[in-house]
């Protein structure tokens, strides 16, 4: 569907098709009309339920037009992709890091690395505003922001021999840029890992079935590690299939475990108990040899991830469920139970991955640029893979919005807002205009094999219920609803724990890198005292925020997810600052709006959100107001301190990015006024042999 015109025909998302110009115009007119109709339907329907396929149609058409026209414009005019220019994969080919690779292989590799739990969780949380705000932000944010960021950063990294974002920031904006990029990455890692762990805690607390299944993935991963290392070296696909079968058995075994009292008591864990277990796991995953736990777990998670995302897409199309959530809820006024705050700015920081995620810039300037065979393929990999991730976010929106709103809010609202007792919770939620009954929730809990579904904040359980609803209606019926629910929960938890152990390790490497400047042995990644020290530092950092979330009477997600959203969007701000500076240095200032516009939007959103999170007088929104309220009521000193700490962390992030912005604007003014000489750090042009062979 997605296309660009080449000399030989029209390239449709990587495939070249020959089509008469008249037919092409007709096709794009139809796509545009269908997209407009679908967007009009989802935006203007009031008081009636709509089918999920309208969201899918709106998304597919928007992405198709965005890819066909906007990404082509960026490729041709802004970045001037050069098919004659050799990429570092070709020039520096070493068979290890730099390997010219088929564009579809790089596409798959890149997508597998960028697609994480973010596009599944953020849209579910944002569904408290209704399906409309999140859907529109996902579509507009991806086409004009996220896809553009991934695309331009990937190209700039390719033109700089695969340099990282931090290195490019240092080259383009100076040492301040490099320092801010480094500090932003570390901050976002710590907050991201804490949030990820909190989502798992909230999904698995008091759930012996879920806890058993996830606990079993650890010995399964270890077994896979030993199998790969000792029995079938390098046979990863085969090992992943075996691991997947074992995970399915573990899901089935989870039902037995939850029904066998002697076993269930060991897996019925409190939030605090689970948090401690995850902190210990994170430390072990960071310190253990990579082949033993991290690598096989990563393979298993990727295998499940790709399969389940495909299955969900098929399920939505086959089932084409009706959305029960209204387009807008009463919580657009900022009084939402899941997180407090109005649509602007909070919808835009709640959904980061799926619309625009700064974290992607790290992948786009990591391994991917070293695999790109031709510059012209960057459009498919950079822009195209983000389109696919954005589609995953749309599917998550559908999964959340197929639930009855009363059920959705009963699952996602913290006890601190709706009350601990079922009767009180259903009264509160029904009082909001979203009818739900205690008996209905009890029946739903039983059908998914849980003791209760009340107060399961974090988004994962609501997504799992929605996904189980879609799957069970297309395969197996209500009888297997519990299996599908736990499959969905396992899929998310596995996904999240993989981010947790990979992220902890990445954080450890970054700290080792920094400490190595102070004392060389600390920088040695194979020296065990250094491994243990730096692992402890990074785990203690995210573990502290996790503990804070677990002890928070409002469920933790209320304060930590916005903090994560702000950090992630600020990192995107850093990436777009770097990209804008490079575009101006390329003497293409007239096109700088391509990155400047999303940058301006992100700065507006994140700075406004940060202001609210620090200074808002509503204690549910402002950290300082909540600290004051707790202090007045003689509340727990630890909670008071945590709120003040969150305010300080938000303030530091904003200060860092402000510093980078000021430095960037100084650069831009200097360059545009001619006071500064534009020096790009691009590798010298070398003609490609690959392109010559082709042309």
């Amino acid at each position: 569907m997605l296309a660009s015109i080449t000399e030989t025909g029209t390239e449709y998302f990587g495939f070249t098709l020959h089509m008469r110009p008249g037919l092409r115009i007709l096709l794009w007119t139809l796509i545009t009309l269908l997209g407009a109709l679908a967007l009009g339907t989802i935006a203007l329907h009031r008081g009636e339920q709509i089918n999920a396929l309208w969201l899918v149609a709106a998304a597919v058409c928007t992405y198709a037009i965005g890819y066909r026209f906007y990404s082509k414009f960026i490729a041709a005019k802004v970045l001037a992709l050069d098919p004659q220019r050799a990429t570092p994969a070709e020039r520096l080919e070493n068979g290890r890091d730099f390997v010219p690779t088929n564009k579809w292989v790089v596409f798959g590799h890149h997508f597998a690395a960028i697609a994480g739990p973010g596009p599944l969780v953020g849209p579910v949380l944002a569904a408290q505003f209704g399906y409309l705000p999140g859907t529109l932000w996902i579509l507009v944010g991806a086409v004009f922001g996220g896809c553009v960021q991934d695309f331009v950063i990937l190209l700039f990294s390719v033109r700089r021999d695969g340099k990282s974002l931090t290195e490019m920031a240092k080259d383009a904006i100076g040492r301040v840029g490099g320092f801010v990029a480094y500090a932003s990455v570390i901050s976002i890692l710590v907050i991201l890992l804490a949030v990820c762990a909190l989502i798992v805690v909230n999904a698995l607390k008091q759930s012996p079935w879920g806890a058993f299944t996830i606990a079993m993935t650890i010995p399964i991963a270890l077994l896979m590690g030993v199998y790969l290392r000792q029995l079938r070296p390098g046979r990863v696909l085969e090992t992943s299939v075996i691991g997947f079968v074992l995970v399915l058995i573990a899901i089935w075994g989870g039902q037995w475990a939850s029904q066998t009292l002697a076993v269930a008591k060991y897996f019925t864990l409190t939030a605090s108990g689970l948090a401690i277990a995850i902190i210990i796991y994170g430390f072990a995953a960071s310190a253990l040899p990579v082949w033993l736990l991290l690598a096989p777990r990563d393979y298993l998670s990727t295998f499940v991830k790709l399969g389940t995302i495909g299955l969900l897409a098929i399920g939505i199309v086959v089932m084409h469920p009706t959305l029960h959530m209204p387009p807008l809820t009463r919580f657009i006024d900022g009084t939402g139970p899941i997180f407090a705050g109005r649509i602007f700015p909070f919808a835009f920081i709640t959904i980061a991955c799926g619309a625009i995620s700064g974290f992607h810039s790290l992948i786009s300037s990591g391994t991917t640029p070293k695999l790109i065979r031709r510059e012209t393929e960057i459009r498919l990999v950079g822009y195209g893979a983000m389109v696919c991730e954005s589609m995953v976010a749309i599917m998550a929106t559908v999964a959340a919005c197929v639930l009855e709103p009363g059920t959705f809010f009963a699952i996602n609202s913290p006890a601190g807002i709706v009350g601990q007792a079922a009767d009180k919770a259903v009264n509160t939620i029904s009082g909001w205009g979203f009818p739900v009954t205690a008996a209905g929730m009890q029946s739903l809990s039983q059908s998914v094999g849980e003791q209760t579904l009340f107060n399961r904040t974090g988004g994962a359980p609501a997504f799992a219920v929605g996904m189980a609803h879609i799957f069970s209606n297309s395969l197996g019926g209500q009888a297997v609803m519990a299996l599908w629910y736990h499959f969905a929960l396992m899929f998310e938890a596995l996904f999240i724990l993989t981010v947790l152990d990979a992220g902890t390790r990445v954080g450890r490497f970054m700290i080792q890198d920094a400490l190595g400047h102070l004392w060389k042995p600390l920088g040695r990644t194979s020296w065990y005292p250094s491994i243990l020290t730096t692992s402890a530092i990074i785990v203690a950092a995210w573990g502290y925020f996790l503990w804070q979330g677990v002890r928070d009477p409002l469920g933790g997600i209320n304060s930590l997810w916005p903090l994560f959203g702000i950090a992630n969007q600020l990192l995107a701000g850093v990436a777009l600052c770097v990209a804008t500076t490079i575009i101006i240095k390329m003497h293409r200032a007239k096109y700088a709006l391509v990155t400047l516009a999303p940058l301006a939007w992100l700065v507006t959103v994140t700075f406004t959100a940060s202001w609210h999170k620090i200074f808002d007088s509503d204690p549910r929104i402002g950290f300082l107001a909540q600290a004051r309220q707790l202090a007045t009521a003689g509340g727990n000193p630890r909670l008071i301190f945590n709120n003040r700490l969150d305010a300080v962390v938000t303030g530091i992030l904003i200060a860092l990015v402000s510093l980078l912005l000021i430095e960037s604007v100084r650069q831009w003014i200097g360059l545009l006024s001619g006071r500064r000489v534009a020096q790009t750090a691009e590798a010298p042009f070398v003609a490609t042999r690959l392109a010559q062979e082709r042309v």
Binding site: V236, V290, D298, M510
Partner: protein, 53 residues
Amino acid sequence: MKVIRLLHEILREIFEEAAYERFCVRNQVRRSKDSYFNFVSATAGAENKMRCC
């Protein structure tokens, strides 16, 4: 068939089987416990294992 072959190639790259094969060719070693251990150690850097949120 072409699509299936491509899909297989994508999976082999994602799951690092292709990278291991290249490692064996580059270092002129055969598939073995030791060569796989060396391969995993060589690719254990932060960059290779970066996973997004």
